[in-house]
């Protein structure tokens, strides 16, 4: 019997990147379904449009950079960016807004840095922050969940919204999100804020609709964790810090309260951020200790900006700020190699 000489790698299987990216896409489904259930077809159209724009712009960027288009398109990373940006945008925004966001995400934040694996900032969050700062009005108008409106917008109204933004939708369909209600709170007790804000009054813990969307993303994230797509460190670091800080500043529901822990954990982009953004292997840190620090930093910044800053939600800003700090954190959390002593810092000179 002739023994063939076979060199490594011995494990064969589907392209790992493609597999990971497609699993992430599938894991957004529970959250997306909750969004569609509560807010009508708008979020679905957002995700579809953003994905199409993302794939088209990725192909264009690859063509300009003279890279194999089919090979890189199949890795699914552009699709994930498009889906995540589409999920983060408010429903019924005009189509050009989605295009501008995806352009900044794919072309500026990803391909100018050399494409997948080199981008220091999370592309979807760059797109979101650019839109939030440049077009604050359409980016802060959320439609009310189905519990509060007679009917969610129909498909015709959704297409009208695409062309004209929320101005094209019937009156009384947009309203303050739960975090907006707390942002605008001027010295009311937490119980009174809950009673006065329609969206909080109609919900169980953190506002009608929004809490179920967040629970959907939590379910998707738990599935990804079970599939070992990422480790638990970054999401747990972020959620634990947010829980701890919001419990500390809850203040028994007084007029100075920053909102209950449930409000902070189950509203805004908390769960989407914790399981789909903070866990990005490219833009976060690499060691387990580094990931805990990274997640905790995001949680801290989210709470501070939500409570004392100008913006009602802060996941995108917090993620970008920690992306900025990630290489530095990596520098100081290099794990010890087995059998070696702790590596010397590069800042200590040998002379």
């Amino acid at each position: 019997m002739a023994l063939m000489r076979i060199s490594s790698p011995h494990a064969t299987g589907p392209n790992r990147t493609t597999q990971v990216m497609l699993t992430v896409c599938l894991a957004t489904l529970p959250g997306l379904m909750a969004l569609v259930w509560h807010f009508g077809p708008g979020p679905l159209i957002n995700v579809l449009l953003a994905s199409i724009f993302a794939l088209a712009l990725e192909a264009l960027a690859l063509k300009l950079r003279k890279r194999p288009i089919g090979f890189y398109l199949r890795d699914g990373s552009a699709l994930v960016t498009g889906i995540l940006l589409g999920l983060a945008l408010p429903p019924y925004v005009p189509w050009w807004l989605i295009f501008v966001g995806v352009f900044f995400a794919i072309v500026i934040a990803k391909h100018l840095y050399g494409g997948l694996g080199y981008n220091p900032f999370n592309p979807a969050m760059v797109g979101y922050v650019v839109l939030l700062i440049s077009f604050p009005l359409p980016m802060t108008q959320w439609v009310l969940p189905a519990e509060l409106t007679q009917q969610t917008p129909t498909l015709i109204e959704t297409l009208l919204g695409l062309a004209q933004g929320t101005q094209g939708l019937p009156d009384g369909i947009t309203g303050a999100t739960p975090l907006d209600a707390f942002r605008q709170n001027t010295g009311e007790l937490v119980l009174d804020v809950y009673a006065q804000s329609p969206v909080l009054a109609a919900g169980q813990w953190a506002g009608a609709g929004f809490e179920w969307v967040n629970l959907g993303f939590l379910l998707g994230g738990a599935l990804l964790l079970q599939q070992r797509i990422f480790t638990w460190h970054a999401p747990v670091g972020m959620l634990a810090t947010l829980l701890l800080l919001s419990a500390l500043f809850y203040d028994g529901g007084s007029s100075n309260s920053a909102g209950s822990p449930w409000l902070h954990l189950l509203s805004g982009g908390t769960m989407l951020g914790a399981f789909f953004i903070v866990t990005d292997p490219v833009t976060s840190t690499t060691s387990t200790k580094g990931r805990l620090i990274f997640g905790a930093g995001v949680g801290l910044l989210v709470f501070c900006i939500r409570t004392w800053g100008n913006y009602p939600d802060a996941v995108a800003f917090a993620v970008l700020l920690m992306n900025f700090a990630a290489p530095f954190i990596d520098y100081y959390t290099t794990p010890r190699t087995y059998g070696h002593t702790k590596p010397r810092k590069a800042t200590e000179k040998s002379e």
Binding site: Y118, V129, Y311, T347
Partner: protein, 191 residues
């Protein structure tokens, strides 16, 4: 006590001199290629900025104002800064010859760091008292050092990235700084 904390938070994060006020961009782009030089530069700038804001406050209050020479403020401050930088240069040369060699030409260039003059001039326009002036200078320097060090760690990673040729080097550095400035807008309203 709260007002001092507000000054520190404001100068380090909310009104960061580099990423929000766009002062001191030359050393920010010039000395951020390696982490160790960035840490040294951050330390040296902190030393100079704090001392320069104290010195310029004293010169402004005890020399320029009594003599009615406020129109000479800019020139007087530049002179004060140059003296402080020369002092810092001699100090570093004696205490850490290695850092002195690493910093090289950038140490005298702190003189032309617009953030240093900017802090001194803003101290007079905000009518800060002695403690506020020194805290303002110290906070500005800490904010400058923070973003310089973080940016240099990121640029070390960018050096290995497959950046398209037209964007290599300073171009991608400027784009990164722009994205970071975008992220710093999230701090708006904190103070």
């Amino acid at each position: 006590m709260t007002e001092f904390a507000v000054i520190m938070l404001s100068t380090i994060l909310v009104n960061n001199f580099v990423l929000v006020q766009f002062l001191g961009l030359c050393p920010f782009m010039g000395v951020s290629n390696k982490l160790e030089t960035a840490i040294g530069m951050g330390g040296a700038t902190t030393f100079v900025l704090t001392l320069a804001s104290i010195a310029s406050y004293l010169v402004n209050t005890w020399v320029l104002m009594p003599l009615g020479l406020e129109y000479l403020r800019t020139i007087a401050f530049i002179l004060v800064i140059a003296v402080v930088v020369q002092f810092a240069k001699m100090f570093i040369e004696k205490t850490s010859p290695l850092l002195y060699r690493v910093l090289g030409v950038f140490l005298p260039l702190i003189t032309t760091n617009c953030a240093v003059l900017g802090v001194a001039l803003q101290n007079t326009s905000h009518a800060h008292n002695f403690v506020e002036s020194s805290l303002y200078g110290f906070g500005a320097a800490l904010g400058f050092s923070l973003v310089l060090v973080l940016f240099s760690a990121m640029r070390e990673r960018l050096a290995a990235a497959d950046v398209p040729v037209p964007f290599q080097g300073a171009a991608i550095g400027m784009i990164t700084a722009g994205l970071m400035s975008l992220a710093f807008m999230g701090f708006g309203g904190l103070v």
